[in-house]
C-alpha cells in the first residue's frame, strides 16, 4: 500500500527506498569497495562466509564528530543506539518496512536499519535528538505536540525525521504555505504508525510547513 508513484523528484516513499537499497546493488557493487579487507573465513551450515575486520569510521552526528571502530555487519541504527547511546531512533521492524528508524543522512531520510555504519563514513547524520536547540523545539516537533500527532509515541521519531527531511528539502517547492494533502501523504508513505494517528500527523506536517515557510 502507499505505492503511488512519486513524481516530485525528491519526495521519499517506501517503494523508492526499497528500489534504491534492495536487490543486489549493494551486494555486488558497493560492498567490496567499502568493506575492509577480508581477514578470515568462517564455516557455517550454508558454506564458507568471509569475516571482515573492524573498520574505523568518522561520523558527524547532530553536529558532533565521532571516530568509531565498527564491525562491517553493524547497521547505522545499531551504532547510533548502542555505541552512541542515541536511543531516540527506534528499532521497530529492523528490515526496512516501517520507517521507525529514519534518520537524515546528508539531509536525506534513510532507514538506518538497512544502512551499514561503514557506509556512513564521512557523512553528516541527524537524529531526533539533534533537532531541538536546548529547550527550543524544532517546528516539526512542536507541531507534533500541538496536533497530538502520536499515541504510544514509538513511531514518532521516525515520522518526525521523515517530515523534517521532506520539509527542509522542499522549502519552496511546492510552496510550504499550502502543501497539498496528497503531497504530505506521499512524503509519509515510508512510515507506519500502528496506533493509526495519520490524520493528526498530516495536520502536524501542514502546521510545521506553515511555520517553516514563514521563517
Amino acid at each position: 500500500m502507499g505505492t503511488n508513484q512519486n513524481k516530485q523528484g525528491k519526495s521519499f516513499t517506501r517503494r523508492d527506498f526499497l528500489k534504491g537499497f534492495g536487490g543486489g546493488a549493494i551486494g555486488v557493487a558497493v560492498v567490496p569497495k567499502i568493506l575492509a579487507q577480508e581477514t578470515a573465513s568462517m564455516e557455517t551450515k550454508k558454506g564458507k562466509i568471509p569475516v571482515y575486520a573492524k573498520k574505523q569510521v568518522t561520523l558527524t552526528v547532530n553536529g558532533e564528530k565521532y571516530s568509531l571502530v565498527v564491525e562491517p555487519r553493524e547497521t547505522l541504527l545499531d551504532v547510533l543506539r548502542e555505541n552512541l547511546n542515541l536511543t531516540g531512533t527506534k528499532k521497530t521492524c529492523n528490515q526496512g518496512e516501517c520507517g521507525g528508524c529514519t534518520v537524515l543522512l546528508d539531509g536525506e531520510p534513510v532507514y538506518s536499519c538497512l544502512y551499514l555504519a561503514i557506509r556512513a563514513d564521512g557523512k553528516d547524520i541527524r537524529t531526533v535528538e539533534g533537532l531541538a536547540e536546548k529547550e527550543n523545539l524544532h517546528p516539526v516537533q512542536q507541531a507534533f505536540i500541538d496536533t497530538d500527532a502520536y499515541q504510544c509515541g514509538f513511531c514518532a521519531p521516525g515520522f518526525i525525521m521523515s517530515t523534517v527531511g521532506f520539509l527542509e528539502t522542499h522549502r519552496n517547492s511546492p510552496p510550504m504555505m499550502n502543501l497539498d494533502l496528497e503531497e504530505i501523504k506521499k512524503a509519509l508513505s515510508g512510515n507506519i504508525c500502528r496506533c493509526g494517528n495519520y490524520d493528526h500527523i498530516y495536520k502536524a506536517v501542514s502546521e510545521a510547513a506553515k511555520k517553516m515557510g514563514r521563517s
Partner: protein, 754 residues
C-alpha cells in the same frame, strides 16, 4: 523452575475483558452521590500531552532504550514444528560458546505450534545469544497436527489438546421462541460472514528487563497491566507479591497483546537470578507474529426473520471461531444486546488448531460480531426495501439484552445516529444498493457500536500536596498511548485550579495504588474518578486550613483563581502557594473510584457512517470519508480522544481492507511474519475522519460521568465500510479483509444474472 501453568495469564482473552467488565455492572457498592455537572475549565477541552516534549525529542525511555550496568541479553529457542514431542535437549555446545552466561531448557515436553518456546540462552550481547541458539540441539518427534479450521472440525482429526476435543461449545444462549418468531416473519434470510486472523503487531515488540536486588525482583516491562504482571510473576516464581515491582515507563502499543504476564518475562527473571545480572529479552517482529497473540477468526451464519415494517422477529447465529491453541472469541455480544428482537438463539463453538494462541485484540469478539450482524441487517433492510438506518431505529432499545434486561444508565446512540447521518449526508446514499452506473461507484454505509467501558470500582489514586505548593498525582495505572498521564494531570489540575503542567504525574509502578490493566476501555473511567475524588479531598483540606487561618467555617471559604477567600470578608484571602506552607509536611489524600448502583446496564455506544468508492474493474475499495459519532460520556481531553477515534478508525480500515495472517495450510508455517507481507494501512489509505462526541450525561456511572473510548471506534468501522461497499455495488462482500479478489468474486454472479 518456575511454575509453568502460571507463565502466561492470557490464555483466556475474555477474562480480562468481557467477564471483568460484566462483573463491574453488578457491584453492590453504594451509589456515588451524583455531582451536578460543573462548568469545567480544563476537562472536556483540548490539552496537549504533558509528555510531548519527551516523546518528540526521543528522550522517552522504551524498554530497549533502558540500559543497566552489566545487563545481559536473553533469547528464546522456538519450535520449528507445529506439533512435536521434545525427546531431548542438549545444551552443552551452547553453554561452551564464549560470552554465553547461561542456557536453560524450558520444561516443555511438547511443542504445540511453530514458535512454541523450547529453551533460552543469555549472553553478553544479542549476536552471541543468537549464535548460541543455533548450538542448542533438540531432538523432536514430530506428531500429527492440524492447522486448518475445516480439517480440525473433521472426525478423526489430530487432537490439539490432550484434555479436550478440537471443537468446544463456548456459548449457547436463547430467548423467546425462535421457530414461532420465524412464522411471524415476512422475510427470512440466511447469510454467512467470515473474518480473518489479525495480528496486533504493536510498534514496540514485547520486551522485559529483570533485575534482582537480593530477594526483591524489579521488572521493567512493555505492558498494559503492571499489577497483573506483578501478581503473575509472584505466582510463577513462588515468591511473595510484595517482593516484585513492575515498572512501565513508556510502551509502544499493545492493543491487547500485552495485557498479562508473558513467558519471556518469567524467563528473563529466571536467567537474571541464575546469572546475578540484569537480563533483557526483546522479542523480534517475527516472534510478535508467532507467539504473542492474534485476533481469532469467525465464521458466522445468521438466520433472521423480519416483518415488512422492519420489526425483527427472530435471529439465530451459529459461529465457529479459532484462536489456534487458545480459545476463540465469542462474537454474539452485540447481537444479544443492542437491538430489540424477542426470539433469539446463539450457538458459538471454538475450534482448536496447532497455531499460535489468540489474545484479546482491541474489542475482542465485538469487531467480528459487529461485522457479521451489521452486514446482515443491511441485507434484511434491502429485502424489505427499507433504509438501513430506519431499520436500526425501528428496533432501538432502552434496556440491555434486547430490551429485556436492565435500563441503560445512559445511551446516546440515537444522538450518534442523528449527528452522524447529518454530517455524512445520509440522504445522498443509493436508495437501492448498486443503482449507480459506471466503472467507479460510490456508496454510503453505517453500523452501530456497543461495548462496555464503565471502569472498575475500587481503583485507587493519591494526590500529594507539598508545603512548597507542588502537587503529585499517583496511581498504579499505565499510559499505553491513550494519554492517561495527561488525563490524570487534567483532572487534578481542574479540581485544584492549577494548570496540567503544574502537576507531577507518577504512574507505571506496581508499588503505587491499585488500578486495573489497561484493556477493555476501562482505564480512564477507572482512574479519572479516583483522581477527582482525591483532588476534591485535597481542596477540602486546603479550605479547612484557610478557614482556620481566618477563624471562619470551611463552608465560608471560596476557592477561585488560585486564591482561598473568606466569602464574608473578601480581604481575607490567601494564595494556593502561600497556604500550602501551612501543610508543614507533605500530605496525601486517598481517592477511590466508587461503585455503581445495581439495576442498570453501563455501556458505551457509537455509530460510524462511511463513504466509499469501488472500482468495479479492479475490485479496489477506497474509503473516502468516515464520520465516527460516539457516546463515551464526559470526554476528559478532546485532543487525545480525537486521536483515539482516528486510530480506531484507521485500524478498522486496515482490518476491513488489508490485514490477514496467512498460514501455509500444509506445514503450518506463517508466511507473512513481517510488516511487508502482512499488509497494514499506511498514509495513502487513510480517509478523511470526522470524530464526533455526543453530549450525554450519565449521573450514575462515576463522579465524572466518563466512559471508556479505547475499543468503541474500532468496533463498527469494518461493518460500516462493508455496508458502504454494498450500497455502492449492490452485493455484500461477506468476508474481511475485503481484498480486490473478493470484491470481484462478489460482483461476478451479479454481472452474469443481469
Amino acid at each position: 523452575m518456575a511454575k509453568k501453568e502460571h507463565w502466561e495469564n492470557t490464555t483466556d482473552p475474555h477474562l480480562l475483558y468481557t467477564e471483568e467488565a460484566q462483573a463491574e455492572t453488578s457491584t453492590t457498592q453504594a451509589a456515588p452521590t451524583p455531582e451536578k455537572k460543573p462548568d469545567y475549565k480544563i476537562i472536556g477541552k483540548p490539552t496537549a500531552r504533558i509528555d510531548g516534549p519527551k516523546i518528540v525529542t526521543g528522550k522517552a525511555p522504551f524498554i530497549d532504550d533502558i540500559k543497566l550496568r552489566g545487563m545481559l541479553v536473553g533469547k528464546i529457542l522456538r519450535s520449528p514444528h507445529p506439533h512435536a514431542e521434545i525427546v531431548s535437549i542438549d545444551l552443552s555446545k551452547a553453554k561452551s560458546l564464549r560470552g554465553v552466561k547461561a542456557v536453560i531448557g524450558l520444561d516443555s515436553e511438547k511443542a504445540q505450534y511453530i514458535g512454541n518456546r523450547v529453551a533460552a540462552v543469555v549472553a553478553v550481547d544479542e549476536q552471541t545469544a543468537q549464535q548460541a541458539l543455533k548450538l542448542i540441539e533438540v531432538m523432536y518427534k514430530p506428531l500429527p497436527y492440524v492447522v486448518s479450521v475445516e480439517k480440525s472440525r473433521e472426525e478423526g482429526a489430530p487432537q490439539v489438546h490432550e484434555a479436550k476435543p478440537n471443537v468446544e461449545n463456548i456459548r449457547d444462549e436463547k430467548r423467546g421462541d425462535v421457530e414461532l418468531g420465524f412464522k411471524e416473519a415476512d422475510v427470512v434470510l440466511e447469510r454467512t460472514y467470515k473474518t480473518a486472523i489479525e495480528i496486533h503487531h504493536p510498534a514496540e515488540t514485547h520486551g522485559s528487563i529483570a533485575k534482582w536486588e537480593g530477594d526483591q525482583l524489579i521488572v521493567w516491562d512493555s505492558t498494559q497491566g503492571i499489577h497483573s504482571v506483578r501478581d503473575g510473576l509472584a505466582r510463577s516464581l513462588e515468591i511473595p507479591a510484595g517482593h516484585v515491582t513492575v515498572i512501565k515507563r513508556y510502551m509502544g502499543g499493545g492493543f491487547g497483546s500485552k495485557l498479562g504476564l508473558n513467558a519471556h518475562t518469567v524467563i528473563a527473571a529466571m536467567l537474571a537470578k541464575q546469572t546475578g545480572k540484569p537480563v533483557k529479552i526483546m522479542l523480534t517482529r517475527k516472534e510478535n507474529a508467532l507467539c504473542v497473540g492474534n485476533r481469532p477468526t469467525s465464521l458466522q451464519t445468521y438466520r433472521g426473520g423480519v416483518k415488512k415494517d422492519g420489526t425483527l422477529v427472530a435471529l439465530t447465529l451459529t459461529n465457529y471461531t479459532t484462536g489456534g491453541i487458545n480459545r476463540g472469541d465469542r462474537c454474539s455480544e452485540p447481537l444479544l444486546d443492542v437491538y430489540r428482537c424477542p426470539n433469539l438463539h446463539v450457538k458459538e463453538y471454538t475450534v482448536y488448531t496447532n497455531l499460535g494462541g489468540s489474545r484479546a485484540t482491541r474489542a475482542p469478539g465485538h469487531v467480528q460480531g459487529t461485522f457479521g450482524l451489521e452486514g446482515f441487517l443491511d441485507e434484511l433492510a434491502n429485502e424489505i426495501g427499507m433504509d438501513p438506518l430506519e431499520l436500526r431505529k425501528k428496533n432501538y432499545t432502552t434496556k440491555n439484552r434486547g430490551d429485556t434486561g436492565f435500563p441503560y444508565s445512559s445511551k446516546g446512540l440515537d444522538k450518534c445516529y442523528e449527528l452522524g447521518a447529518e454530517t455524512i449526508g445520509w440522504h445522498r446514499r443509493n436508495k437501492t444498493p448498486g443503482e449507480g452506473q459506471g466503472k467507479i461507484r460510490q456508496g454510503l454505509g453505517m453500523a452501530s457500536q456497543i461495548w462496555w467501558g464503565a471502569g472498575v470500582p475500587g481503583t485507587l489514586a493519591d494526590v500529594k500536596l507539598y508545603p512548597d505548593g507542588s502537587v503529585d498525582v499517583i496511581c498504579g495505572t499505565q499510559d499505553i498511548g491513550c494519554g492517561t498521564r495527561t488525563h490524570m494531570a487534567v483532572v487534578t489540575a481542574e479540581a485544584l485550579g492549577l494548570e496540567p503542567n503544574d502537576i507531577t504525574v507518577k504512574l507505571g509502578n506496581s508499588d503505587y495504588p491499585y488500578a486495573p490493566s489497561s484493556g477493555g476501555s476501562q482505564t480512564t473511567p477507572s482512574v479519572a474518578p479516583a483522581v477527582r475524588d482525591a483532588s476534591l479531598k485535597a481542596v477540602d483540606h486546603l479550605k479547612e486550613l484557610a478557614a482556620k487561618k481566618f477563624k471562619v467555617s470551611a463552608h465560608d471559604i471560596l476557592y477561585k483563581d488560585k486564591n482561598f477567600t473568606d466569602r464574608n470578608n473578601p480581604e481575607n484571602t490567601i494564595a494556593f502557594g502561600e497556604l500550602a506552607k501551612d501543610l508543614r509536611r507533605e500530605t496525601v489524600f486517598h481517592g477511590e473510584r466508587k461503585g455503581m448502583p445495581d439495576g442498570f446496564a453501563y455501556n458505551t455506544f457509537g455509530a460510524h457512517f462511511v463513504e466509499v468508492e469501488v472500482d468495479t474493474e479492479t475490485g479496489q475499495i477506497k474509503v473516502l470519508k468516515v464520520v465516527a459519532a460516539h457516546d463515551s460520556g464526559q470526554i476528559i481531553n478532546t485532543k487525545t480522544a480525537e486521536s483515539q477515534v482516528i486510530g480506531g478508525v484507521t485500524q478498522g480500515v486496515s482490518t476491513a481492507l488489508f490485514e490477514q495472517r496467512i498460514v501455509d495450510a500444509t506445514t503450518g508455517t506463517l508466511v507473512n511474519p513481517n510488516w511487508r507481507d502482512y499488509k497494514i494501512a499506511t498514509s495513502m489509505d487513510i480517509p478523511e475522519i470526522i470524530p464526533i462526541f455526543v453530549d450525554v450525561d450519565d449521573p450514575r456511572i462515576n463522579i465524572l460521568g466518563t466512559k471508556g473510548l479505547g475499543e468503541p471506534p474500532r468496533i463498527p468501522i469494518a461493518a460500516a465500510i462493508g455496508n458502504a461497499v454494498y450500497n455502492a455495488i449492490g452485493v455484500q462482500v461477506r468476508e474481511i479483509p475485503m481484498t480486490p479478489d473478493k470484491v470481484l468474486k462478489a460482483l461476478k454472479p451479479k454481472e452474469v444474472s443481469s
